[in-house]
């Protein structure tokens, strides 16, 4: 069909495998909670999401031992996501506030801050424990 080129395209496509990456499973399991539980127990597995490239900017990690408390990261953070804790002279990072720019990584003179490749971060409580890095 010259005037509807898509017809040929879709008919060709119907025989091919879909482009979908079936994360976390092809269809919704009968119960998500049950599914997550059996994943936890190792009885089922989550189909992995599309892989991240090296140097992907995921959830931030912090090495409080190497940190010197120079506060440079705070000066360059565009999102006000880093808080200085005067008692310990260390910093605390709020992941839900961070915009994953990794600027603090670049700025940190001691390399205490590194972006991980973790990006499945959805949460019901934005101040949950795993959402605060310190």
């Amino acid at each position: 069909m010259k005037f509807l080129p898509t017809v040929a395209e879709v008919l060709r496509q119907i025989t091919k495998t879909p482009a979908t990456n079936i994360f976390p499973a092809k269809y919704l399991p009968p119960s998500i909670t049950g599914f997550l539980r059996s994943v936890g127990e190792g009885k089922a597995s989550i189909h992995p999401p599309i892989g991240t490239p090296p140097k992907f900017r995921g959830k931030i990690t912090y090495d409080r031992d190497t940190c010197t408390g120079c506060k440079l990261c705070i000066r360059v953070c565009p999102a006000n996501a880093i808080e200085f804790l005067p008692e310990t002279k260390r910093v605390r990072i709020y992941v839900t506030q961070c915009v994953f720019c990794s600027q603090c990584n670049d700025a940190c003179p001691t390399g205490s801050l590194v972006m991980s490749d973790e990006f499945l971060l959805a949460t019901e409580d934005r101040y949950a424990e795993e959402m605060i890095v310190e």
Partner: protein
């Protein structure tokens, strides 16, 4: 054929600010006669976040990431334009290789953005298969961008005085593979979009913007080029590495027999800019000089240099949607004294009033989309008090502008 149902002679049809055809909030008010548009008015400002205001309270290194998020589609245009102003004021010498990296990223951004737009246009036409197809192939450019910068959308690659990441030679095959991918795909994309009768039926002679109107309304970018204006910042006042490269504006008559300035021509221009970008990236890969990509890696130093800078400058960039312009004035504080952003949609949006008139309801989405509007980077002004008692007239605005300019001059 008379419309099947009754209408009061004319009626008002509001569209927006939240409407599936508009991915961003903006309120249109149409005065309709049946299905035909008599008059158009629109109220932007719904996405006004006070970006410039916030920026004037932050240092340039932070602002770069704010500019990234003026709009998430052109992840690099705004930050590039902004960085160029600061670099000019602080007289920072950007390493040559950084220019090439910036260029490559900008062209990937263009590929990504134009294919995105093509998909959106198809969606506005109710052609979801093409929408899916376009966005499916767009993922490839996002993958490359993510591979090169670490994020799919807000690249964060620009830094004052260069770029934050260099491309290593082991990354080149990946880039090359994706260029090849798009080259192979291009024929199919052009065929699917441009030979389809149902798209032609909807887009030809629809939303026509004549060359004169395009000129008079100060349109920029593909919108202007689709009306036959030979203009492109990359060609007219090259920045980054464009001066070394062969860049020529894409005009619809390079593909079609003539220029109509209709929606169809805008599709043609955008689709043809994809191979153009591929060509530019190829040139960059070939010519890229070795060397540093950032003039200074110590952030304290960058911050200090920016703080010392005094002066003003303008940075112009050809974003996918047209010229994007930043003006910055630094006065020796860590924060800019003034920052103005003029995005491409700012210039293009007035064309709506012209091209929507006399068209039908059904064409509203595609015509609005045809200039590829981005409200998030356009919404510079908002009337904050909503009672509408203090709408500013043209005279008020001119007076305020003059006053402000005087203030800046002091």
């Amino acid at each position: 054929m008379s419309e099947g149902a009754g209408k009061k002679a004319t009626y008002n049809l509001p569209i927006g600010p939240i409407h599936p055809a508009l991915k961003e909030p903006i309120l249109f008010t149409f005065k309709m006669d049946g299905e035909v548009i008599q008059e158009v008015d629109f109220a932007p400002g719904k996405a006004h976040r006070g970006v410039e205001w916030m920026g004037m309270r932050r240092n340039p290194v932070q602002i770069v990431h704010l500019t990234d998020r003026i709009c998430g589609i052109c992840g690099v245009s705004h930050s590039l334009a902004f960085a160029r102003t600061v670099e000019q004021i602080a007289e920072i010498e950007v390493p040559e290789r950084a220019h090439y990296v910036r260029t490559i990223i900008q062209e990937f951004e263009r590929i990504q953005s134009h294919i995105l737009w093509a998909g959106v246009a198809a969606h506005e036409l109710g052609f979801d298969t093409l929408f899916y197809l376009a966005w499916r192939v767009r993922e490839e450019s996002l993958d490359v961008i993510e591979y090169l910068t670490g994020n799919r959308v807000n690249y964060g690659i620009i830094q004052i005085g260069g770029v934050r990441r260099d491309f290593t030679s082991d990354q080149f095959p990946r880039i090359e593979a994706s260029l090849k991918y798009y080259e192979d795909l291009l024929g199919k994309l052009l065929n699917l979009f441009l030979d389809d009768k149902s798209i032609g039926l909807r887009c030809r002679q629809c939303g026509v913007l004549s060359r004169d109107d395009a000129l008079r309304l100060c349109t920029v970018g593909p919108t202007a080029r689709a009306s036959g204006l030979n203009m492109d910042v990359r060609q007219d006042s090259p920045y980054a590495a464009y001066g070394d490269l062969d860049v020529r504006a894409v005009l619809p008559d390079q593909y079609l027999s003539g220029t109509n300035g209709d929606v169809y021509d805008r599709i043609v221009v955008r689709l043809l800019e994809v191979p153009q970008s591929i060509g530019i990236i190829r040139q960059c890969l070939d010519q890229m000089p070795p060397g540093e990509v950032l003039w200074e890696t110590k952030y304290a130093k960058i911050l200090a240099t920016c703080k010392k800078a005094v002066g003003e400058a303008v940075g112009r960039v050809e974003a996918p949607r047209g010229e994007c312009l930043h003006y910055v004035r630094m006065d020796g504080n860590s924060n800019p004294h003034t920052w103005k952003v003029k995005a491409s949609t700012y210039s293009n949006q007035m064309a709506w009033l012209k091209i929507l008139q006399g068209e039908q309801i059904a064409d509203i989405p595609i015509i609005i989309a045809s200039i590829d509007p981005c409200m998030s980077c356009t919404d510079r002004v908002a009337i904050v008090r909503e009672d509408g008692t203090d709408v500013l007239t043209k005279e008020d605005l001119t007076r305020l502008s003059v006053e402000k300019t005087r203030r800046l001059m002091q």
